[in-house]
């Protein structure tokens, strides 16, 4: 079900761990499935010198975290802010349809860490405290069933056309 690249990054995750005196920390959590990705940054001259992660989540979430850190390492902060969830999923050579949302947490955590770093620089944030972002998916998913493409009203629990569960809370 997972691509070889996903499996590789899951089984041999790169950059696992915490950075003791991190310059920026982002924590993104999904309140529905409980998954959580923490990203720790060491920044020098606006370049990500070191990056580490800790993740509570499925194989895809771990692989996404690992790939994300690989993509971000060595990049300038501005470049890193441009890394999207799609970039990560593509670098992993695809994720199963029902795991695409897992990749959403990855880039969000990176961006949160960068924001946290910048906030600290601007003294808007206290060093040692992480930027915490609850990850709530956009509502747009709810309206069109991803399985049969039919429209559904508001917060429908399942698709009225095909009966599929609608994962919009995730």
């Amino acid at each position: 079900m997972y691509s070889p690249t996903v499996l590789d990054h899951f089984k041999n995750p790169r950059n696992v761990g915490e950075i003791a005196e991190a310059d920026g920390v982002g924590e993104v959590g999904n309140p529905v499935c409980g998954d959580m990705i923490n990203v720790y940054l060491k920044v020098k001259d606006d370049v990500i010198e070191d990056i580490k992660f800790k993740t509570f989540g499925c194989g895809a979430a771990i692989a996404v975290s690992s790939m994300l850190t690989e993509l971000a390492k060595g990049k300038t902060l501005d470049e890193a802010m441009k890394i999207t969830n799609k970039d990560v999923a593509e670098a992993l050579e695809g994720l199963p349809k029902n795991k695409l949302h897992c990749s959403n947490l990855g880039a969000d955590a990176l961006h949160a860490a960068i924001k946290n770093y910048r906030d600290r620089q601007a003294q808007k944030a206290v060093p040692g405290e992480a930027e915490k972002v609850p990850h709530i998916p956009e509502k747009v998913d709810a309206c069109y069933c991803p399985y049969c493409d039919m429209e559904n009203k508001g917060q429908a629990e399942f698709c009225v056309s095909c009966g599929a569960d609608l994962p919009h809370e995730h």
Partner: protein
């Protein structure tokens, strides 16, 4: 080293006798059991034998067995068949919060079709209170559907007690016994249920084959309508190869019942004690005694189940997980949540199910490997150190 298979709840290795029988049908019997010529009659005889074997497993009469395409069809047939047949009498159905998805989703659809569902709470072990069932019955109630054994935590419900209440109140009672049939002895006459679902792949028979026990006189519409097969209760040309596999699997489950139960009990004890001794922060789920003998549900704190399952697979050990991430549905197990477990812990739940082919050496292997992979994932988890330190 051969891979070790501890996911006998998802599917079981075919019994050698089941393979033999299926091979024979593939080679020799292709006729349609409804055809009156020799080719058809050979197929019809194969079905007859399978029907007797399946009936015998649960002490039913052969005419009370309806072959289906698996547990899901049996459950859908039972629930929708009774609901539609009884719709003039009433539209109230009683169930519990921890039924299998096949039950839940049928009832969800019936809700859209103007049925009214009462879903009962269970306690921390997953047990439902028969008194609560009795209290929920109204004069509109046409069906009670409660599983015999839970497929995620193994808890056995007091089915005979509930059946007695249902009989007394003249409400049709279906029990989803997919997780239990072929594992523990079941006697439909002693239980006195009206409908009972089972599936072959739980007891060394093939995937996608099951049966619905329909007590004579039970008002039920067919779910699959068309020809007059299966005593007019289930239309469609029969999956002869699969049904023969179910029949032989049922016979072997019956014949080997004692030795299998013996083995399950020994290995299960060893597994639970061994894990407990080797890994801190575990929670074993389900009722301590009223429980399936071949199933261990264990929640591993601070980590998520899919990763654990994949790493074990990497080591050649196959288990299942109840984490939302792996289920394709992306919600936490409603069963674990139904017993009051919190979300993060539910995410770390493994389901280890034993089969007739498992050995002590295989359990030893799991006990050796599991502590290591659990630690790998815990080291990766943002919530491990915080909590263990605290």
């Amino acid at each position: 080293m051969d891979a070790v298979y501890f996911d006998n709840y998802a599917a079981t290795p075919l019994h050698p006798r089941v393979k033999e029988a299926m091979h024979r049908i593939v080679d020799e019997v292709f006729g349609n059991p409804s055809s009156d010529h020799r080719f058809g009659q050979a197929a019809a005889e194969a079905l007859d034998t399978a029907r007797k074997q399946t009936a015998n497993l649960i002490n039913a009469e052969p005419e009370e067995i309806v072959f289906t395409s698996g547990g899901t069809e049996s459950v859908n047939h039972a629930i929708k068949g009774v609901a539609f047949s009884q719709r003039e009498k009433g539209r109230h159905i009683i169930t519990t919060n921890i039924e299998h998805k096949s039950v839940l989703n049928c009832l969800r659809t019936l809700r859209l079709l103007d049925y009214h569902i009462t879903s009962l709470d269970v306690d921390e072990y997953g047990l439902v209170d028969p008194a609560a069932v009795e209290k929920a019955i109204t004069d509109q109630t046409v069906l009670i559907t409660i599983q015999l054994a839970n497929n995620e935590i193994g808890t056995l419900q007091p089915i005979a007690d509930i059946a007695k209440i249902a009989r007394h109140k003249k409400v049709v009672f279906h029990t989803d016994a997919v997780a239990a049939a072929g594992i523990i002895p079941i006697d439909v006459k002693a239980l006195d249920v009206d409908l009972l679902s089972l599936a072959a792949n739980q007891f060394n028979g093939p995937n996608g084959v099951g049966a619905l026990y329909v007590k004579r006189g039970t008002p039920i519409w067919p779910l699959l309508e068309g020809g007059v097969q299966e005593n007019r209760k289930r239309a469609g040309t029969e999956n002869v190869v699969g049904i023969v596999g179910l029949g032989v699997a049922a016979e072997m489950a019956w014949l080997e019942s004692h030795e299998r139960l013996e083995k399950f009990r020994t290995l299960r004890r060893k597994l639970i004690d061994g894990l407990n001794a080797r890994i801190p922060h575990l929670k074993f789920n389900g009722h301590p005694t009223q429980v399936l003998p071949h199933l261990v549900s264990v929640s591993v704190e601070f980590i998520e189940g899919e990763g654990l399952m994949l790493l074990l697979d990497e080591e050649g050990i196959c288990v299942a997980t109840r984490s939302a991430c792996a289920s394709g549905s992306l919600r936490a197990s409603h069963v674990l949540i139904g017993t009051g477990m919190d979300f993060a812990l539910a995410q770390g739940t493994l389901l280890i199910t034993l089969g007739r082919d498992n050995t002590e050496a295989e359990v030893d292997r799991l006990l050796e490997v599991m502590p290591r992979v659990v630690q790998t994932l815990r080291d990766m988890s943002p919530i491990y150190q915080k909590n263990v330190a605290a």
